[in-house]
């Protein structure tokens, strides 16, 4: 049986297997279809109906279930997550698993297509070491990403020493993994 205990391990293996079968296009279809629309349809429905409140409900529940180390900050016009210990990437790092080229891509790979029809865009940065931050705003909100500490104060992951450890990828006003840019140091 394929289990949920080591899900992140075989999920990572599956990414690479799909890429070998049909390239990046098949892998992105998988995230935007199988995960965003099928697997996570409960999240999509909640966020479409409740907006930022739905994000808070969904991520508070699921990140607790996965035993993440995180801080959620919800404001009137923005929903922010500071991920200090990603349970998913952390599982891979602790167990020495690295089948796919960039595991962290999967998050925006499904969250972007899930939020797009609900009318949101994403500012996001991850460091491939189990730390990242997310800011979701309505698609017509041109507010730039926050300055360090502006929204989440001391909980802002960008304050932490670990944040500088890895190579960062950046997404600005994005709903697609194709929008990835390397961070300017």
């Amino acid at each position: 049986m394929l289990g949920c205990y080591d899900f992140c391990g075989h999920y990572d293996w599956t990414f690479e297997w799909l890429r070998q079968q049909g390239g990046e296009a098949l892998l992105r279809d998988y995230w935007s279809g199988a995960i965003a629309v099928d697997s996570q349809r409960h999240a999509a429905a909640m966020i479409k109906e409740l907006g930022f409140e739905g994000m808070k409900k969904y991520w508070a529940y699921t990140l607790n279930e996965e035993a993440a180390g995180y801080v959620i900050t919800s404001r009137e016009n923005v929903f922010r997550v500071d991920m200090h210990e990603c349970p998913s990437k952390g599982f891979l790092i602790r167990n020495g698993i690295e089948h796919s080229a960039d595991y962290c891509d999967h998050c925006i790979g499904w969250i972007g297509p899930m939020l797009k029809p609900a009318g949101f865009t994403i500012d996001h940065e991850h460091n491939h070491q189990g730390q990242c931050w997310w800011e979701m705003r309505k698609k017509d909100d041109a507010t730039p990403p926050s300055r360090i500490g502006e929204i989440s104060g001391e909980a802002d992951i960008r304050h932490s020493a670990e944040w500088c450890a890895g190579q960062k990828d950046v997404f600005e006003k994005s709903v697609s993994v194709a929008d990835k840019k390397p961070a300017v140091s």
Binding site: M1, L2, G3, C4, Y5, D6, F7, G9, H10, Y11, W13, T14, W17, L18, Q21, G22, L26, D29, Y30, G33, A34, I35, D38, S39, Q40, H42, T62, E65, E66, A67, P87, G90, F91, R94, N95, I97, H99
Partner: protein, 173 residues
């Protein structure tokens, strides 16, 4: 030392929490549907066989060196880490029998009102037999849709798998 909430040595990968997050069964079911739709039944079976031989090689290696005792210990530890599982594992000289009285995946997918792919239970055979074959065992499956019996045998005289013995998952009324 990595933090671990699992019995050391029984599972190849360990996590900081004792059981997995059950909503991942939603993703497993959706993954099966996607691959089956895009690559066909043969592509889906190949996916599972190659995962059994590749991703699960650390388990296969433990079975190769530890024999049926390692197989039995693995399944006990595996189902202890799956939320909602009710399973008994028996071992004799030539066979390990895994009696699944409540499949955690089927139970969670049903409680989440998910459309379960009808061929869901076949995955245990494709994956399980690839893993069993690697160290020279045979795996057979009967039942499904929430309850099944899986046998792992060291005997070379095991009849072929009867695929009709694996139940399709029907929608609930």
């Amino acid at each position: 030392m990595p933090r671990s909430a699992s019995p050391p040595g029984l599972l190849p990968y360990t996590d900081t929490k004792p059981q997995g997050a059950a909503d991942f069964y939603f993703a497993i079911n959706a993954t099966f549907r996607f691959i089956h739709n895009r690559l066909g039944p043969g592509g889906w079976a190949t996916y599972l066989r190659q995962m059994g031989e590749g991703y699960f090689e650390p388990v296969n290696a433990a079975w190769r060196s530890g024999g049926l005792m390692a197989v039995a210990s693995y399944w006990q530890a595996f189902f202890a880490a799956e939320p909602g599982a009710e399973v008994e594992v028996f071992r004799d000289a030539t066979t390990v029998t895994v009696e699944v009285r409540r499949c955690p995946a089927i139970a969670h997918l049903r409680s989440g009102d998910r459309e379960i792919v009808p061929f869901f239970c076949e995955h245990c055979f494709h994956l399980g037999s690839a893993r069993a074959n690697a160290p020279g065992f045979a795996m057979r499956l009967e039942g499904g849709a929430g309850q099944c019996r899986q046998t792992f045998s060291s005997s070379s005289e095991v009849p072929p798998q009867d695929m009709s013995a694996i139940r399709k998952v029907e929608p609930l009324c």
